[in-house]
Symmetry: C2
Subunit: 143 residues, 2 copies
Amino acid sequence: MFSKACKYAINSMVFLATLPEGQERAGLKDIAFATNSPEAFTAKILQTLVRENLLLSIKGPNGGFEISEEGRKTPLYRIVQVIDGDSIFTGCALGLQECSEKHPCAVHHKFKAIRDHLTGMMMTTTLQDMALGINTGISFLKT
Amino acid sequence: MFSKACKYAINSMVFLATLPEGQERAGLKDIAFATNSPEAFTAKILQTLVRENLLLSIKGPNGGFEISEEGRKTPLYRIVQVIDGDSIFTGCALGLQECSEKHPCAVHHKFKAIRDHLTGMMMTTTLQDMALGINTGISFLKT
DNA sequence: ATATTACAGGATATTTTTATCCTTTATTAA
DNA sequence: TTAATAAAGGATAAAAATATCCTGTAATAT
């Protein structure tokens, strides 16, 4: 469904979103540990998120990453789009280059309904929402 | 969503299911052409489907592949399961090893609804259904 | 100023997925 | 029985995704 890179991105963002005000910064090591992801690889992905202004990065002692205001309000949709592109939201399930109402693949209509369901969910779920679930103990960041 | 291997498998099966009675056999070359997929790679995938009794293969002159009776009735679900495994139907969107009602990830409930929607669709759509759409000109096998 | 800390980014390695090639095996037609 | 055909299957190859390592750069604290 999503690439590992994308899962690491989402989980890192959610973790940062769970941190309480006043101590919202975390280093790579802590992020990787909290999310069960490989440190160096995660670093690469965070770089992308920083470039997109979804994260702030601070070098030096007491440095680390913080979720930006923009990032906090960001829907899950955006993270996926940034890391995996939006083929999952728009691409043909069966691989047709052109798959549309006019030229549908054999499951176009049925599949479109599911994609739309997914897209809607991803657009309306923010990282903040997800963090809230974690912070209230309703859901979990790692196994 | 699905691997290329899986898309090739589905498209090959659907193509074979579109062939009229009495001439339901097609060679690798024709299958690959009809579905826009690489011949040798597709051959490997068809081997798997043959082992699963979803296809029959016949060697020698006038040989080729035929969809089996079992294959014709098979839901899309089964092809995906055979080629990609069922992580798409059961796995956690965010990569948690254990993701369940008891120990849900941050989008478990919302995502489960979508997965169930997908699973239902895949279980109720047979290759025959898909072939019918192609044969009636409603849908297309390639771009 | 200097040593230390921590991210940035380039280079490289590993693994998985996708793809091709070639020999073998089975089948058919002549 | 032989030549031709077509899939099976093993061996590689190429590409993409995942992962690690190392040097450079910025920031901080002493």
